[in-house]
């Protein structure tokens, strides 16, 4: 399909009023994205969750002409759709419609953006779910997501990046409909919006869209500076103790200075893909922890935020960030209580596999810091990435999303530019980037685990107690000697633990 990518820069401040076009004349649909440079970091203190609630109320409410229910009835036969997505620094509204209904659907786009109804009834319906998310869902539905959010809570403590976009239990309960109306007027304006349009649309359509977007509030929002991650001294561990957890879910992280804006990012991307490419069996962490030792479902590393990693195998657009950190995701591991029930020979163990897996992951990273990547691994990983990154944007919606994100990072087409950067990068560049940006002595670690595991694991970590891998007999008897020999080294690998705290689940995200 012939695709034209046209960037039009209109007068205005850096982000505002840019228009990103992705013309696809053969497409049967039109995709519109309105990206506001305004995310959860602009939530006022004590009103955390306000941006999320505002965006939810725009797409979960009505317009001046139609209620939410009437809109749903109206667009149902067209199968048109729209949704909002809030992240730390941007909020994006996405609309998709079949070309047969562009004219009929357009008033919904303009109505929601220009005349959101913001009714009390819609407010009450929507806030109750947001309150429930921060009160219950984040603690109860996925221990992996829980540990990921807890890591951000530690990394960014005291900054506007700390809180979940949904807010906190105490803050969501203070939000009012007037807060929402004011926030929309103050922060969703013609001066901080970027227009994206993809598919089979007409010049007239785009002209109308641009004209209507210009009718948004003319307020010039004072965007706060993005909070920077705290730099831990030593390894600081927070164990979240939870009733009836089935395993130990782990995230680790520390601040990272570079983002997609920096050309050096491509070099670090190669190192990271080799160590822990998301959901890929050919990365080092996966092979060591899952494939060879069967400890969990997977283990990955990241040099930027990865949205909804449990659901998506490829990265999603719409989450550009200027404040960055490195992280390792170790998926849930067996705890002592479970292992004891499963294997008689493990009846005397005190802790499950979490300590060993942490040691192994951090040691693997350190081996890269000390030894660098080999020429062979460098070439193989670069070849993989140059093909793989092109799969990030297979649909019109994804392609448009990545183009909008590119502008956030002062790029035009990140995926195309990244390919060129990858083509140029050398082994020396990669190993230099590793030495410059990777270290294992200072990081935060969050572990969500069962009440029975929390204290023994904390003690083991505090004292750097040797943590021999507790295999069942049937598995251990068949493992190669080199695996067992490496296990012996890993079991005593010293982590620079400085502090370990246990936090009851009820006390998190305060």
């Amino acid at each position: 399909m012939r695709t034209l990518i046209i960037l039009m820069l209109m007068a205005g401040i850096a982000f505002a009023q840019k228009v990103v076009e992705l013309e696809q004349p053969k497409s049967n649909k039109v995709v519109v994205k309105l990206m506001f440079k305004n995310g959860s970091i602009s939530d006022p203190a004590g009103k955390e969750g306000l941006t999320q609630l505002t965006a939810s109320l725009v797409t979960g409410g009505g317009t001046a002409d139609m209620t939410y229910g009437e809109i749903q009835d109206f667009i149902f036969p067209m199968a048109a759709s729209y949704f909002s997505h809030v992240d730390k620094e941007v909020t994006t509204f996405t609309f998709q419609v079949h070309t047969d209904f562009i004219k009929e659907f357009y008033p919904i786009i303009s109505g929601l953006i220009l005349t959101p109804s913001f009714t009390e009834a819609d407010f009450k319906r929507i806030i109750v779910n947001q309150q429930n998310f921060v009160d219950q869902v984040i603690r109860a539905s996925s221990d992996e997501d829980y540990s990921k959010m807890a890591l951000e809570d530690l990394l960014f403590r005291g900054t506007n990046y700390q809180h979940m976009k949904q807010g906190k239990s105490a803050s969501v309960s203070t939000l009012t409909l007037d807060d929402v109306k004011n926030h929309y007027k103050q922060f969703f304006t013609r001066n901080n919006v970027m227009i994206g349009v993809a598919g089979n649309y007409s010049d007239k359509f785009l002209k109308q869209l641009k004209s209507d977007v210009m009718k948004l509030s003319d307020n010039k929002p004072a965007m706060p500076e993005a909070g920077k991650p705290n730099r831990p001294e030593g390894i600081n561990v927070e164990i979240i103790s939870k009733a009836n957890a089935f395993g130990s879910a782990i995230f680790t992280g520390y601040p990272l200075k570079i983002t997609r804006t920096d050309n050096e990012f491509a070099a670090l991307m190669i190192a990271n893909s080799y160590l822990g490419e998301h959901r890929k069996s050919y990365s080092r962490l996966y092979q060591k922890i899952r494939q060879t030792r069967s400890m969990n479902y997977g283990d990955y590393s990241y040099i930027e935020w990865y949205d909804q990693g449990g659901s998506y195998q490829l990265p999603r657009p719409g989450v550009p960030r200027s404040s960055n950190y490195y992280s390792i995701w170790i998926r849930p591991l067996q705890i002592a209580k479970q292992l004891k029930m499963q294997y008689e020979e493990l009846s005397d163990i005190k802790v499950g596999h979490a300590h060993f897996a942490l040691r192994m992951a951090i040691r693997e990273m350190n081996l890269l810091v000390e030894n660098g990547l080999s020429k062979e691994d460098f070439e193989a990983t670069r070849t993989f990435l140059r093909s793989y990154i092109k799969l990030y944007a297979q649909t019109p919606e994804q392609r448009l999303g990545f183009l909008l994100d590119s502008r956030f990072y002062d790029r035009k087409d990140y995926i195309a530019e990244l390919d060129k950067l990858l083509a140029k990068v050398t082994l020396e560049d990669v190993n230099k980037a590793i030495r410059k940006h990777w270290q294992v002595d200072n990081m935060y670690i969050t572990i969500v685990t069962d009440e029975s595991e929390a204290e023994p694991l904390a003690e083991s970590l505090r004292n750097n107690t040797p943590s021999p891998m507790s295999y069942s007999n049937q598995l251990k008897s068949g493992l190669p000697d080199e695996v067992l020999a490496e296990d012996a080294i890993v079991a005593e690998y010293k982590l620079n633990i400085k502090n370990v705290t246990i936090v009851p689940s009820a006390d998190t995200f305060k």
Binding site: F76, R125, N129, M295
Partner: protein, 450 residues
């Protein structure tokens, strides 16, 4: 001024039908499905699609949790999917990983109750390498016993992550309650005791491969920047010598349920939930029952339904309500569920759901509702097929059910035929108390919903 929808959407629907008619008369998929069955029984499906440089390569194996009929081996189809990444005589698991990495594709696999799906989407120029890799492991998989025992731990890890969700716990318990004999009694993950015992089942794993990883169980689907001749040629070259098998699973028939059943999960950490699970029919692209149920579920339980408007938008007693039947090879469940604000409303919400069903049984739905729903189904489909992967995924869904990707086109043709009488017929036939399993979550020790 409020826009009017009736005329535009009817006109547009007509235009869409006319446009589709020029390429694929009366078929929902606007691209031709090319099929070639090799002499060994392997079906090869190709859909050339305008995606320069990109191709999706899928293999559907029609084996899933449904085929786990022997005691003690629940979860084995899924476990075996993991084993397929453990190497062959030609390529060790390390070599396989290295070559897969060189393909630069998004490659993975997943298992459901009725099928196991292996997929790669990547550079179309690497299509022959994709064929070679897949043909080798599908015909020559070979792993040492220690690899088998090791991989079992990863499955346990997968169960451990999934089990953190109370909804997964409810699903596991509900299925175990709703079924007595049929293998839909267990989830695709399998019972936990069987997962713990998996390392002891090495010999069974060899039997499993012998039985199911055979050409007659498999369909290759290639969508994207390819030609039909190219795909058929590669299929013959790499899969042509694959020997067929003879195994047919003897799936137990579920006895007729006699009374309403109940399963309750006590959990105060998430909102109360009420779930009604009615026994529903197997998928068919010939009978009208399943298309009628799909249309009915959209009208009764989607976000535009009267029930949603009442319980979610107006009364705000439910956070969410939804319902429908998943397609499956054997009779399964039609599930309606509501997440509530207050546990005191559980009985009320259940009664309101039943009232909506009873109304459909007595008087059906309106002609306008039928027309709007049929339009929604068609346009939803048209909007969803926007990449080689999404088309391959859709075709794979119908292949798992009948073995024939044309079932997709037949199913959507059947949607057009659904009448109000069909809706009333399926509402009366399947929504009966003796086919119902009520599953609930609340902080209380008992569900309490009658």
């Amino acid at each position: 001024m409020r826009p009017k929808f009736q005329l535009p959407y009817v006109a547009a629907l007509l235009i869409m039908v006319l446009l589709l008619g020029s390429a694929q008369a009366d078929k929902i998929l606007p691209y031709q499905i090319h099929q070639k069955k090799l002499s060994n029984g392997l079906n090869v499906v190709t859909v050339p699609y305008d995606s320069p440089g990109l191709a999706a390569f899928y293999i559907v194996v029609r084996v899933g949790a449904r085929d786990e009929v022997e005691k003690g081996v629940t979860g084995f189809a899924h476990f075996f999917e993991h084993m397929m990444f453990r190497g062959t005589e030609k390529y060790s698991k390390e070599e396989y990983s290295a070559i897969l990495k060189s393909v630069g594709a998004a490659a993975n696999a997943n298992t459901t109750q009725d099928r196991t799906l292996y997929h790669m989407t990547g550079n179309a120029e690497k299509l022959e390498l994709m064929f070679e890799l897949e043909a080798d492991r599908f015909q020559n998989l070979k792993y040492p016993e220690i690899d088998f025992k090791t991989e079992a731990g990863a499955v346990k890890g997968e169960y451990t992550k999934n089990y953190a969700s109370p909804y997964m716990q409810l699903y596991e318990g509900m299925k175990n309650t709703a079924f007595d004999k049929h293998t839909y009694k267990h989830t695709t993950m399998g019972f936990f005791d069987d997962i713990v015992d998996m390392p002891n089942q090495y010999d069974y794993s060899l039997t499993f491969f012998e039985r199911f990883y055979r050409p007659e169980y498999c369909t290759i689907v290639v969508v994207g920047d390819v030609t039909v001749d190219q795909v058929n040629g590669l299929a013959k070259k790499y899969f042509g010598d694959w020997k067929p098998g003879s195994h047919v699973s003897d799936i137990p028939v579920e006895p007729k349920q006699q009374e309403t059943r109940y399963y309750h999960l006590q959990n105060g950490g998430i909102p109360p939930l009420v779930q009604l699970n009615y026994k529903s029919p197997a998928f068919s692209d010939k009978e009208i029952d399943m298309p009628a149920l799909d249309v009915m579920s959209t009208i009764l339980f989607s976000q535009t339904s009267d029930l949603f408007k009442k319980l979610v938008l107006e009364e705000r007693k439910a956070r969410f309500i939804g319902g429908g039947a998943g397609d499956s090879r054997d009779p399964n469940l039609f599930t309606i569920q509501a997440s509530l604000i207050d546990k005191a409303d559980m009985q009320y919400v259940k009664d309101e759901i039943v009232k909506a069903i009873e109304k459909a049984q007595a008087s059906g739905v309106t002609a306008e509702e039928l027309k709007r729903t049929k339009s929604n189904l068609k346009y939803s489909f048209a909007m969803g097929i926007d990449s080689p992967g999404s088309i391959a995924q859709t075709l794979s869904h119908y292949i798992q059910l009948t073995g024939d990707p044309e079932s997709l086109n037949r199913t959507y043709a059947n949607y057009d035929k659904v009448t109000n009488e069909d809706i009333m017929m399926v509402a009366k036939k399947y929504f009966v108390p003796t086919g119902l399993t009520i599953a609930t979550i609340s902080p209380d020790a008992e569900g309490g919903v009658k």
